[in-house]
């Protein structure tokens, strides 16, 4: 009579192979099917190099705090993620959908938040928009935030969260923005009376000039 353990050993071995060994062997093959959305664009590295998506090379969209993926032979059977670049190595990423080359969008990595879409940038501050769930690039060049987004203002190395971009600007956010640009009288005066969507009002921070009276 065969002991039940002797029958169960082969089953355990099969389960172990299926659960641990096969994914390790076929990992690359399994991941090959999960290529991200392919976008045209350029990756500017901190080292000074630039990676350009030309021909059938594409760049994966910036999502959360993940690495930027470079896809070779995009949208073909041989398409695969060829290279992954850590956010710390990247200065900025400029991407656009294949069908809208006239609407490039710039992204940069903000510590504690992740990839953020740059709305305005000047030597003194940066206004950007962060979407925790990532971004959707529409075929017409439009950009959609997945889930709730936040407007961030980066000044002197500090990051300020000014709330939702798609809502009417709150008095708290307006006061906070006025404090940030207190040395620009004209802009502060505009912000004190500005009404409307937060993203439209806060884009005016791009005009900030500290010496302007």
């Amino acid at each position: 009579m065969t002991h039940p353990c002797l029958i169960s050993i082969p089953l355990r071995a099969i389960c172990f192979v299926l659960a641990f060994v096969m994914p390790a062997i076929c990992g690359n093959l399994m991941c090959a099917g999960k290529t991200p959305v392919g976008l045209c664009g350029r990756v500017y590295l901190r080292s000074g190099d630039t990676i350009e998506a030309e021909g059938d090379t594409r760049i994966g969209p910036p999502v959360k705090s993940r690495k930027i993926e470079i896809i070779e032979h995009a949208y073909t059977k041989a398409g695969k993620v060829d290279r992954k670049i850590a956010p710390e190595e990247v200065d900025s990423v400029v991407v656009w959908p294949t069908t809208a080359p006239g609407r490039p969008r710039t992204f940069s990595f903000v510590k504690d938040y992740g990839w953020c879409w740059e709305l305005e940038r000047n030597p003194w501050l940066t206004v950007c928009c962060h979407s925790p769930k990532g971004y959707h690039f529409a075929g017409n060049g439009g950009l959609w935030l997945r889930g709730k987004g936040y407007i961030l203002v980066i000044k002197d190395g500090r990051t300020y969260n000014l709330g939702r971009p798609d809502k009417k600007i709150s008095d708290k956010a307006r006061r906070q923005a006025m404090e940030l640009v207190a040395d620009d009288t004209a802009l502060s005066a505009y912000l004190s009376t500005a009404r409307g969507r937060a993203d439209k009002v806060l884009r005016s921070l791009g005009k900030y000039h500290p010496d302007k009276k």
Partner: protein, 260 residues
């Protein structure tokens, strides 16, 4: 029973309160969201505000179009003043004047013939208002909503987005994506009857070719790439011309009088 009645009364009271609060805090900024430029079928343009009143809502709800909106109500002022209700047959498009990041040139709602299949009538079309997601020389990408049934024993019917393409010269827009998935059954059927050459090319590119699976992924990632495929096709072929094809075979049930 009493508890339920009280809850309904409380909910209604809260809604009224919220409305009143909204009225007090009303300013021009909020109304600008509804500021539109309507282009009528005659070519005239009207600038006004979309006004969602109860009667238009009920007409849309009980119209033949189902989920496809067929009426809009446009007023000259954001609140009060005169309003006029338009049927989809009277309007070409209405464009929102305020641009957003999602619609850099302002969102556009177009009045289009849409493929609305019925039992034994897969080519049935209906006119209604749909969102135009992209417009190129070779056609446009539009979005509307449909009912989708999960099937099975405990079937659930839900509202899902449908994204379709209207190819240049075609009589109607046909779905290529349903609830985020590739879905071109009705487009293939339409092309089979009227444009076999284009159907063959589409079939080769999206179903039979070596990279077909990757091309289908490309389309679901960015539907506008389907228009790029059609642009390539037009380099060697003539565009679709549905006016030359008999109305019945191109688009069943497209009689404007019947729709009205």
């Amino acid at each position: 029973m009493l508890k339920k009645t009280l809850l309904i009364a409380l909910a209604a009271f809260l809604c009224m309160g919220a409305e009143a609060k909204k009225d007090n805090g009303n300013d021009n900024v909020e109304s600008e969201e509804w500021h539109v430029k309507v282009t009528l079928e005659s070519g005239d343009t009207i600038t006004g505000y979309i006004r969602n009143d109860l009667k238009t809502g009920l007409k849309n709800l009980f119209s033949k179009g189902g989920l496809l909106r067929q009426y809009i109500n446009v007023g000259t002022e954001p609140k009060g003043g005169e309003t006029h209700r338009y049927h989809a047959w009277e309007v070409k498009e209405y464009r929102f004047l305020e641009s957003t990041e999602a619609y850099p040139e302002g969102a556009v709602c177009v009045s289009e013939m849409i493929n609305a299949p019925k039992m034994f009538k897969p080519g049935n079309c209906m006119r209604g208002f749909v969102w135009q997601l992209d417009k190129r020389e070779s056609g446009s990408v539009v979005r509307w909503e449909v009912y989708e049934s999960t099937g099975g024993r405990n079937s659930v019917t839900r509202i899902v987005p449908a994204i379709g393409i209207k190819l240049k010269g075609a009589g109607a827009a046909y779905a290529v994506m349903m609830n985020g998935r590739f879905f071109d059954g009705y487009l293939m059927l339409y092309l089979k009857k009227t444009h076999p050459e284009l159907r063959e090319a589409w079939n080769q590119y999206y179903h039979k070719g070596k990279d077909a699976k990757a091309h289908r992924k490309e389309l679901t990632d960015n539907v506008s790439t389907a228009l790029l495929f059609y642009e390539d096709f037009l380099r060697t072929h003539d565009p679709i011309n549905d006016s030359a094809v008999s109305e019945e075979s191109a688009c069943e049930g497209s009689d404007p009088e019947e729709e009205k």
